[in-house]
């Protein structure tokens, strides 16, 4: 989860998110360099006295065409690399279905047994001391640490979106459509997210909580719930 005044990303808990953070740092530096240059040139132009002696500008026209093209290539190459990386065949160990409703999520683990449960937000008035307002749910999504998980996201009524920032996952939940994404939780922990597509009055009150636990713990939880 984020701090109260956090501006930057949460720490990555999946390899894709690590890549995305690095790309973002790179793109931000490029943007900062361009902005500084523009600000500098602007100040220069505004403080310079007007002159009637400029007639031709061939050299600078060439420069300010070639240079931006090179900058765009510098941005496009890492971006496409990560895009293709996300679509790699990764042979998931586990398939999880996330179904969005107004205003809660239903999760189904049907690989081995039929495990289905709803996940509602805990109202602020019912929160135990120190728990996170608008983020806690009654039933978390438990996944084994270090295992690639395939998530099939859909919705029952209106558009929703299943998002967990620290895992680098955001997938729209569209009624009548199955969208697939995958993630790998690299470390054990609890990762929070919120519904990311406007879906009515309680859109802000249907969070997602993914708990990454070691495999034996996951198996113990899964068998105790589905029996």
């Amino acid at each position: 989860m984020a701090n109260h005044s956090q501006l930057g990303f949460q720490d990555a808990s999946s390899p894709i998110m690590e890549e995305l953070i690095q790309f973002h740092d790179h793109a931000l530096m490029v943007a900062l360099a361009i902005c500084s240059l523009v600000l500098y040139l602007l100040t220069l132009m505004l403080t310079e006295k007007l002159s009637s002696s400029t007639v031709d500008a061939q050299e600078i026209e060439l420069v300010w065409t070639i240079l931006p093209a090179m900058v765009l290539i510098t941005l496009a190459l890492p971006s496409l690399r990560i895009l293709y990386m996300m679509d790699e065949i990764n042979e998931p160990d586990l398939t999880l279905k996330a179904i969005g409703h107004q205003w809660y999520w239903t999760y189904e683990y049907t690989d081995f047994k039929d495990l289905t449960f709803d996940s509602y937000m805990i109202p602020t008035a019912d929160l135990p001391l120190g728990h996170f307002r608008l983020l806690e749910v009654d039933h978390r999504v438990i996944v084994p640490t270090g295992s690639t998980v395939r998530v099939i996201v859909t919705a029952d009524d209106v558009l929703h979106s299943w998002a967990v920032p620290s895992l680098g996952v955001k997938t729209d939940a569209i009624p009548g459509r199955l969208n697939q994404t995958s993630f790998l939780a690299t470390r054990p922990g609890v990762y929070y997210g919120q519904c990311s597509e406007i879906c009515g009055a309680n859109h802000s009150f249907m969070p997602i909580v993914v708990e990454s636990a070691p495999l034996p713990n996951f198996e113990h939880w899964s068998s105790s719930l589905s029996s």
Binding site: M1, Q10, D11, K49, L50, S52, T124, R133, R187, G189
Partner: protein, 170 residues
């Protein structure tokens, strides 16, 4: 600027014939003010289309006659007078700044302050209490829970807590 170049290409004759005809109402349609040669004080248009003073007094006309002879015969005051006939401002006067920025800055501060007043009024008269999860007790329990859960352990909050000494890292 383009217009001034066109005039210099076409020649002074065009200014004195067709344009004057238009200016004095002998053409078909009344010539609008903006189509007639105009005077302008600009650094990037050093020689405006017309002289500043159009109708010369008798004294100024005599001076223009004197200008046709050798210029070394002119006194400094006469040269200044000839300049003022041709041009409105000197370069120094043209480039002088104004005090407009003070007005603008004052206006900006005024509206910032006005917005602030609105916000204060809203907080005092409109909004209800904030959630109970912002109390000191709750926030400290929440921070402890975040550290126990190792939230953001790489560069975030859990990376700034010294778990051995049970205090924030220096």
């Amino acid at each position: 600027m383009l217009a001034s170049r066109v005039f210099s290409l076409v020649g002074r004759r065009s200014i004195s014939t067709s344009l004057c005809l238009r200016a004095h109402g002998h053409g078909v349609v009344k010539a609008e003010d903006y189509t007639l040669p105009a005077y302008v004080d600009r650094r990037d248009v050093p020689l405006p289309e017309v002289a500043f003073v159009r109708d010369l007094s008798a004294q100024q006309q005599a001076l223009k006659e004197k200008e046709k002879a050798s210029w070394s015969a002119l006194s400094v005051d006469e040269k200044v007078e000839l300049y003022r006939i041709k041009f409105n401002e000197t370069y120094a006067e043209m480039n002088k700044g104004t005090n407009e920025w003070k007005t603008i800055l004052g206006g900006v501060f005024f509206f910032l302050g006005f917005t602030g007043i609105i916000l204060i009024w809203q907080k005092h008269f409109m909004y209800g209490p904030i959630p109970h999860t912002f109390s000191e007790e709750w926030l400290s329990a929440q921070t402890k829970r975040m550290l126990d859960m190792r939230v953001n352990p790489v560069e975030g909050i859990s990376a700034q807590w010294d778990f051995d000494k049970n205090e924030w890292k220096k």
